[in-house]
């Protein structure tokens, strides 16, 4: 078993354009998906992120505030899961019903495992 971070990225608020009922149905679908992950013991955590924030560019100790543009693709939330391998983690990411109603990218990344301390 290995741990993975799944980052969800969309352009702007992915729920924009959906009617209130559609939004509600959307939330319910995702609730069911998350409940299933919980039941199988695969979910360590999942949180949405607010649509604002900051981007900072650092270079050898010098920081520059970058432009934060939420109409460009930003991370809107993450799932922290356990899976057998990248293949399973990717399958779990694809099962997320979020993209039935929206468009975006999913980044699936294994959390680096410590090799142990010598």
């Amino acid at each position: 078993m290995q741990e993975f971070m799944i980052f969800i990225k969309t352009k702007g608020d992915h729920l924009e354009g959906l009617s209130e009922e559609q939004q509600q149905a959307h939330v319910q679908k995702i609730g069911k998906y998350i409940g299933g992950l919980m039941e199988s013991g695969k979910l360590k955590g999942a949180q949405p992120l607010d649509m604002d924030g900051a981007i900072i560019h650092g270079n050898k100790g010098v920081f520059k505030d970058g432009p934060f543009n939420e109409s460009k693709e930003v991370i809107v939330g993450y799932f922290h899961i356990v899976a057998e391998n990248l293949l399973e983690a990717t399958a779990i990411a694809k099962a997320n019903p979020m993209f039935e109603d929206a468009e975006g990218n999913i980044e699936v990344r294994p959390i680096k495992q410590m090799e142990g301390i010598n």
Partner: protein
């Protein structure tokens, strides 16, 4: 109004005893074992809220659902409000603090399967060997069984402040020892389980043998002990023939609970009990568990005690009891535990087979043991033997000592009657 309120309060206490226990269990998982007190407070507040609302509006259609809902929201609020003040290490707490996972998590942790698993974890937490056995029992009753402090005090014939102190100490120890909320695995399971079984048996005996004359509460203690053992045998993670044996033992004894007491609350001896009043369903259940217990080649003290109890339960009459069979079981028992109380019980069986003379001879070997001198059955059974041996004075002397034990009025009056009976033969 006050009458109405205390009426509803009683109903809440009794109807929701188990819901109460389940809620505290789930919230202990949520907040972590170092915050058992917080879990208890949340449930208590939810109960008080229910009491206030229901006194005005009447009890709703789904009262336990109502209490669950209130407790859930209180818990979530606490997690959000105190997020930065306390440390909640549990994964559940994490799930309950995220907009995405809150609702699914609330549903998930209150499913029957999760609650059953959590109750098992809670049993191992409350019966952790770092706690004194008194504390283990008190904490188990308070958290898992939903007893309040006055009820626990009544069952143990002690003061409320005493019980309260025990509970405070227990919670503190759990926090300091950092006891995890989990069922031990591997080589740790067996010793931990044996500590759990000891506590359950203690709890049971408190109900079955205590000198308290509050029979409803004592019967509930027996039921609770049975319920806890059932949670363990129902778990797929634990295969334990000892637990089946203990469960069988408790079922056999509880089946005879009500026939041991007459309308006046007096104790009726096995010899005079109306066997048709024994709960045959319960005996049948006990026999099933005894069969499970025999599947593995293990003989614990619970196996032997359960088998002895099964002999009594299945004997058609007192006279037709298989005393020889019971004696050989006691002989095996002595090899595991040669405590004076077991020796005394064995001697009573000896008197049925070899007569009072032989029994008295054997009694003389243990009668100076101080641990018997606070044990009521020692006085009554040995008085009986001395009386049969035509020594009524010695019998009365023993009963006069028994009267001084901390026992209830109905037992005292039984002993006075015996003294009167014996006096006629002086």
């Amino acid at each position: 109004m006050i009458q109405g309120q205390s009426n509803i309060a009683n109903q809440i206490d009794h109807l929701f005893r188990h819901e109460h226990g389940k809620l505290i269990t789930v919230l202990t998982k949520t907040f972590g074992t170092s915050n058992i007190d917080l879990a208890e407070d949340v449930v208590q507040e939810a109960m008080v809220e229910a009491l206030n609302k229901w006194t005005l509006d009447g009890i709703p259609d789904n009262p336990s659902g109502w209490i669950y809902k209130v407790a859930k929201y209180k818990a979530v609020n606490i997690l959000n409000k105190e997020k930065y003040k306390r440390e909640y290490v549990s994964e559940v707490a994490h799930h309950l603090q995220s907009e995405w996972t809150l609702e699914p998590a609330l549903k998930h942790i209150f499913t029957d399967k999760e609650i059953a698993d959590d109750q098992l974890r809670m049993i191992f937490t409350c019966c952790h060997p770092v706690l004194s056995s008194d504390s283990q029992v008190a904490l188990t009753l308070k958290t898992l069984c939903g007893f309040n402090i006055p009820e626990i005090a009544k069952a143990f014939l002690t003061t409320e402040s005493n019980i309260n102190k025990r509970l405070v100490r227990a919670r503190k120890t759990i926090k300091e020892a950092n006891i995890p909320f989990e069922v031990p695995v591997g080589s740790q399971l067996e010793p931990r389980l044996s500590s759990v079984l000891e506590t359950i048996y203690l709890l049971f005996n408190e109900g079955y043998n205590s000198t308290s004359e509050d029979f409803p509460i004592r019967y509930e203690l027996c039921e609770e002990a049975i319920r806890l053992a059932e949670i363990i045998v129902q778990s797929a993670a634990i295969k334990s023939s000892n637990t089946h044996a203990l469960l069988a033992l408790m079922l056999f004894n509880t089946a005879r609970f009500s026939s041991r007491i007459n309308e006046l609350g007096d104790i009726i001896r096995l010899e005079q009990q109306n066997r048709s009043k024994w709960d045959q369903e319960m005996i049948k259940k006990g026999l099933t568990h005894l069969a499970f217990a025999a599947e593995q080649n293990e003989v614990s003290i619970y196996h032997l005690l359960a088998t002895i109890s099964a002999q009594h339960c299945t004997a058609p009459t007192y006279k037709k009891t298989d005393w020889e069979g019971i004696l050989s079981l006691y002989d095996m028992l002595l090899e595991i535990d040669d405590s004076p109380i077991i020796q005394l019980n064995r001697i009573i069986v000896v008197s049925k087979i070899s007569g009072f003379k032989e029994a008295l001879n054997q009694l003389k070997r243990i009668e100076n043991d101080p641990s018997l001198h606070s044990y009521l059955p020692y006085y009554t059974s040995s008085a009986e033997l001395y009386f049969q041996d035509n020594q009524p004075k010695k019998a009365i002397e023993l009963l006069n000592k028994a009267i001084k034990l901390p026992i209830g009025d109905s037992r005292k009056s039984l002993i006075y009657n015996k003294i009167k009976e014996y006096s006629k033969n002086i």
